[in-house]
Symmetry: C2
Subunit: 133 residues, 2 copies
């Protein structure tokens, strides 16, 4: 069994995982190419090896080895969000959504999608209430 995923990932870890999520299984060279900045070959190697040790990334046996993310993008984002809610906004969700919606100039399509999410959540809340004995 893979080691327990840490409560949070470091910036460098996220940086590499983002490449794996975007490109799928990659070799070390391909991972190095996937960064938006110049990082040493052996830096990438060390980072990937450490993530393999942690069970966050898997490594194939062929040569050159291929590295794959062993954690889902949305699990990672959920975990980090939960940490933000608990640690920074004292359990409150609204300030975070406010920032995402207001300050980041979200698209009309995304806004429409969010409306649907909220409508569904409201309906769910009504069902829960009605379900009470």
């Amino acid at each position: 069994m893979a080691k327990r995923n840490p409560p949070r990932l470091s910036p460098g870890e996220l940086e590499i995982l983002e490449v794996l999520w975007r490109r799928g299984p990659v070799t070390l060279s391909e991972a190095q190419d996937g960064f938006d900045r110049e990082i040493g070959y052996t830096t990438v190697q060390t980072r990937l090896n450490r993530l393999v040790e942690k069970g966050i990334v898997t490594r194939s046996d062929d040569r050159p080895a291929r590295y794959t993310a062993a954690v889902a993008q949305q699990d990672v984002s959920a975990r980090h969000l939960d940490l933000l809610v608990e640690r920074v906004t004292g359990g409150s969700v609204v300030p975070l959504v406010a920032h995402l919606v207001r300050d980041r100039r979200i698209s009309a399509d995304d806004l429409a999608e969010l409306k649907q999410l909220i409508a569904a959540a409201e309906q769910q809340a009504r069902k829960s209430k009605n379900g009470k004995s």
Copy 2:
């Protein structure tokens, strides 16, 4: 001028800042009391001293000294959120909001508030479109 705020704060730093945001200016002892777990007196001291050195916290000159957060809670949460959007969800905001709204069982009041936020954002988007020359 205070030193530049770091792109992100460590879990321990967030833990202490949360206490400062919640309780306002506190002494070292009061800060130690504000944690929801047992942390050594000199651990709290070292952490606060490092944050003062970074310009993230200010320290009064009286005795015992009082420590105050020099960064706003919502600035910190905004910065961390932006990092999440960029590093984890590839620029996409919807998955984050989806997690906050759906998986965290948000209250009816909060949902109503979010509806208003989205309506305002939609209106803003329409104004921007109409404002185009």
